[in-house]
């Protein structure tokens, strides 16, 4: 059995997780939160175990990916594995349906336009330049479209 969560991120540090299928859904163009089957607690980032009722039963729930920038920084001094991307800008986003996410700004938003409070669309992405399957999400201008496929 392949470790699907290894797909997530340019560098994968911690691929063993109960929410591994998150990466499969992202590859299919879907951004997923977790929803507790017992009490309905929704979380992004997703988590297998409910912090409220302690249930381990969860389901994925698709998010629209609409959000608003909370903060951001341009990283000039990059860590190992990211030197070829530097400098890059990461932002923290409040998702419209709850939860927060951290990601790179994509090509549809020039660096000079980035501001706290601006609306963004979180878009599922595949690293085209990497041979193995590698997925992530980026922050784009609202209205940006992408392809969704059926679960592979």
């Amino acid at each position: 059995m392949s470790i699907v969560f290894e797909w997530f991120g340019k560098v994968s540090y911690s691929p063993h997780t109960k929410i591994a299928d998150f990466a499969r859904h992202l590859k299919d163009g879907r951004l997923m939160a977790s929803r507790c089957r017992q009490c309905g607690y929704v979380s992004f980032p997703p988590r297998a175990d409910c912090p409220q009722c302690l249930s381990g039963e969860f389901a994925f729930q698709e998010l629209t990916g609409a959000g608003e920038v909370v903060t951001f920084t341009r990283i000039d001094a990059a860590p190992a594995g990211f030197e070829d991307l530097a400098p890059f800008v990461v932002g923290v986003v409040d998702l419209a349906e709850g939860g927060r996410l951290l990601a790179w700004f994509g090509d549809t938003i020039p660096e000079g336009d980035i501001a706290i409070g601006m609306p963004v669309q979180v878009v599922p992405r595949i690293f085209e330049e990497i041979e193995e399957i590698k997925v992530y999400y980026s922050l784009e201008r609202p209205g940006t479209s992408w392809v969704k496929t059926d679960s592979s």
Partner: protein, 384 residues
């Protein structure tokens, strides 16, 4: 209730110490502390060591330190909460004494950070955040504080100049501290012209890694008064945690763990923030010191930038902060830092700081943060 106090203090020189191993660094601080307390080492009943293991080639570094200090077979254990490991050691030593289990305990904070290659440091640097959801985007330690700074600027108008004022103050005092790594003052122009690290933070907004050690010896009240007449009492302790992930923090303009820990410490010591005459706070980045002023209640939320720009954290101001140079100028050997802060505050309360002495310092505070506030320890010290 039995009071617990500091009866001896020692501090090595911080810096790139290619002349010494981690246990030799620890010995420098330990020797000074034992001599300061005029204590027979046989009276030390246990030790607690604060260090972050992943920087050392020696696995289980506490073992080699305990052996080199000639403290076998006495009990020892290591505390690890990232950059707050030294304060965690002090807290557990205090608990060991208050429980009645031990009467005299040595606390050693030590860290050798230059054993690692640049490549190893860069690899470690990429794993400071939540590795599942954040590190996969190449986040860094400065990057997180940069995002706090960006948010602080957005909500309160904090400027690059105000950030730089923290570096200017801490270098001013570091130049006057013989134990500091950087003993040179810095100008506003130089700070603002330094290379970008993670916007808006520049090189001069960041503290530097260093090797080093510090040691304090704690004792219970009746015994402490027999050892020395200059005991400084640890009367207030606070400790709190906050989420590992920045994504689970509703407010990104401060550290909730620091707010919680300080409220606990103030209540336990029966003081208010304005009673603190001198403080050592965790200025791993300039924005971290500005947030600390606010989290600790030295000024109101959003007023931290003005607080330093108006010289309120200099000697003579409302609350002198990091008049030993702070992490910024002293250097930041992460396991040693909390103990180093304690060393400075004890010296201040004893009145032994020379040109850096805060007049009338009778109540002092340390604020030691682990990571990006996942852990915070606040301690209140008082002299008789």
């Amino acid at each position: 209730m039995t009071r617990v106090g500091v009866v001896g203090i020692g501090h090595g020189v911080f810096g790139r110490r290619s002349d010494a191993s981690v246990q030799e660094l620890a010995f420098e601080a330990y020797r000074e502390a034992v001599q300061d307390a005029k204590l027979d080492p046989a009276e030390i009943q246990a030790s607690v060591i604060g260090a972050v293991p992943e920087y050392h080639k020696q696995r289980s570094v506490g073992g080699v330190v305990q052996e080199y200090l000639n403290l076998n077979p006495r009990p020892t254990w290591l505390t690890e909460v990232a950059c707050a490991s030294g304060s965690a050691a002090i807290r557990t030593a205090w608990m060991a004494i208050r429980s009645g289990m031990h009467e005299v305990v040595a606390v050693i904070g030590c860290q050798k950070m230059t054993e690692l290659t640049t490549a190893e440091i860069l690899a470690l640097m990429g794993r400071v955040g939540d590795v599942q959801w954040e590190s996969v985007f190449g986040t860094t330690f400065p990057g997180y504080y940069a995002m706090f700074a960006q948010r602080h600027r957005h909500e309160f108008g904090t400027t690059d100049e105000q950030l730089a004022q923290v570096a200017i103050k801490n270098h001013y005092y570091g130049a006057r501290n013989e134990k500091a790594l950087f003993r040179k003052e810095v100008t506003l122009e130089k700070a603002l012209a330094s290379d970008p690290v993670a916007s808006p933070l520049r090189v001069y907004d960041c503290c530097a890694n260093a090797d080093g050690a510090a040691c304090v010896i704690l004792a219970a009240e009746p015994r402490a008064r027999e050892i020395t007449d200059k005991t400084v009492w640890l009367d207030g302790l606070g400790c709190a945690s906050a989420s590992m992930s920045v994504l689970r923090r509703p407010d990104l303009t401060g550290l909730p763990s620091a707010v919680d820990a300080s409220r606990q410490a103030y209540a336990m010591a029966g003081i208010a923030p304005r009673d603190v005459k001198v403080a050592d706070v965790h200025d791993c980045f300039t924005i971290a010191e500005i947030m600390a002023y606010e989290d600790l209640g030295f000024c109101g939320r959003g007023e931290g930038g003005a607080f330093v720009a108006e010289r309120q954290s200099y000697i003579g101001g409302a609350t002198p902060v990091n008049v030993d140079g702070g992490l910024k100028a002293k250097g930041h050997p992460i396991g040693a830092t909390g103990v180093s802060m304690t060393y400075e505050i004890v010296k201040q309360l004893r009145g032994e700081c020379g040109e850096r002495q805060v007049p009338g310092a009778d109540v002092g505070l340390t604020h030691n943060v682990g990571g990006i506030g996942q852990y915070c320890f606040v301690h209140v010290y008082r002299r008789d």
